[in-house]
Amino acid sequence: MEDQILSTVDWARAQFALTAMYHWIFVPLTLGLSFLVAFFESIYVKTGNEEWKKLTKFWMTLFGVNFAIGIATGIILEFQFGTNWSNYSWMVGDIFGAPLAIEGIFAFFLEAAFFAVMFFGWHRVSKGFHLFSTWMVAVGSSLSAVWILVANAWMQFPTGMAFNPDRARFEMQSFWDVALSPVAVHKFTHTTSSAFLLASLFVVGISSLFLLQKRHQKMAKRSMVVAAVFGFIASIFCAFTGDEAAFNVAHRQPMKLAAIEGLYVGQEKAPIIAAGIINSSKKPGDDLPAFHQEVKIPGLLSLLANRDVDSYVPGINDLVFGNTERNIVGAEQRMVTGKIAVAELTRYKNAKNSGDAADAASALVLFNQHKGDLGYGYLKSPAQAVPPVAIAFYSFHIMVVLGTLFPLIFLLVLFFAFKGTLENQRWLNLACLLSIFLGYVAQQAGWVVAEVGRQPWAIQGLLPVNVASTNIATSNVQATFFIFLTLFTALLLAEIRIMLKQIKTGPEA
């Protein structure tokens, strides 16, 4: 029975990951390209130069293709909540209901109004109103992304709520605490800036293809300059917000930070591992080395985590077994508290069912004292509180390395553009083309860090994934996994095919 539940959970997680990762192929390009289109059109309106209009319409078409293929791919995640994650879905309904409803309504009105003007209105509305509509689509797309990111942030840092044991639900106490939590703010800023970066890579990359093919060179160079400027600014902003995100992770999800750096033994002047090969045999508490090979930068992790190069950063061992010297409560101790919380919740439920008000009241008092570690009560061993270290480590480092590479590419593009020799730099144009793919790799790696890094929690510290899931047949989840795989792959192929056709045709279409 236990194996059955685990298997179902694993498949449900795989299915959610698959859907989210495919969904995230479409979303960042929509978020970023909408702004680039708005920039291009603004230049057209400012200069009156028809070349810019042609250029705007070309990128707008690619934006439209991506938007159309990606639309509603996210709704499947909500279906999965109801089927595969019914306990979780019930428990967070009060928190997520409002943000997701706002997102749905916002997106509908945005798309029905301004989106139509953007595509249909070139000859029907004034230049100014058309430009306004394009900007509204760009701003609105990012704003509609706020709410889903707020929901995700709440899972990483549950705040502004209280657990109601009668309804088995987390109930919202403060909308603003949920919407403006530090994790929500940095998640939004980091995610959107990374999306701007990706879209810039996309425009620079496709434009490079034109230069390599010696087609539409003037348009390509113009597009590249605007996208490289936007991309460079987005890269720097992304780095700052990433730093802020890491600071928040250090203080709210220290296990995630320890995992993404493979830090088992906490230390002062903790180093960042610039590159390394994880020792997959390593387990918490053993004496094996964490890495087969590693290149360290001393003190940098302490600086990242605490803004102090000499500070102490807890390692996985501290967070699993505790460290009294450093006043760190480990998962081992939290499990004791968590099991009391589960036991008192059970006593409360039984007392309520049997009508014993006094026993229910006493159980509730004890439950409330221990509920902060409720999720730990479901763990079998403290080591279960550790996420898959190798996946978290490699994903994080891939993201950071690529995130460092991209601004350099943008700078090189700008350098050669101002020298007037961009079309002669074949190596750079090839690198720009390859960077489209690398941009997507960085995007996916970022989400892997965020989501794998917080395992085993569906809601940080409160609800592990196995309790969040529905006890349904594994075969059902397996079947829908492969249906999604087929559907999303078909959609992705359709997108690539239509985009390639548009790119082949170019701005003359």
Partner: protein, 74 residues
């Protein structure tokens, strides 16, 4: 002077008529939405709690039962 509703109707009608790539995209959107809402949602993704319990109280009771049935993970 056309009424606002008529203008809006003509705006969307002419817009849809003048689409080139959009025609293909709309076909994909319609097929996709049909698959998502009429097939996946209807046949493969029932809402477990909605379908198996009649009242909010029963649903809460079921979830509470799961929360209090300790099921350690691997």
């Amino acid at each position: 002077m056309l009424s606002l509703s008529k203008q809006l109707y003509l705006f969307y009608r002419d817009g849809f008529r003048s689409m080139v790539v959009g025609r293909t995209l709309w076909k994909i959107i319609v097929i996709k939405l049909f698959i998502i809402f009429a097939v996946l949602k209807f046949f493969l993704f029932p809402n477990y709690l909605q379908n198996n319990f009649n009242t909010e109280r029963e649903r809460a009771g079921h979830v509470l039962e799961n929360l209090t049935r300790t099921s350690p993970i691997r």
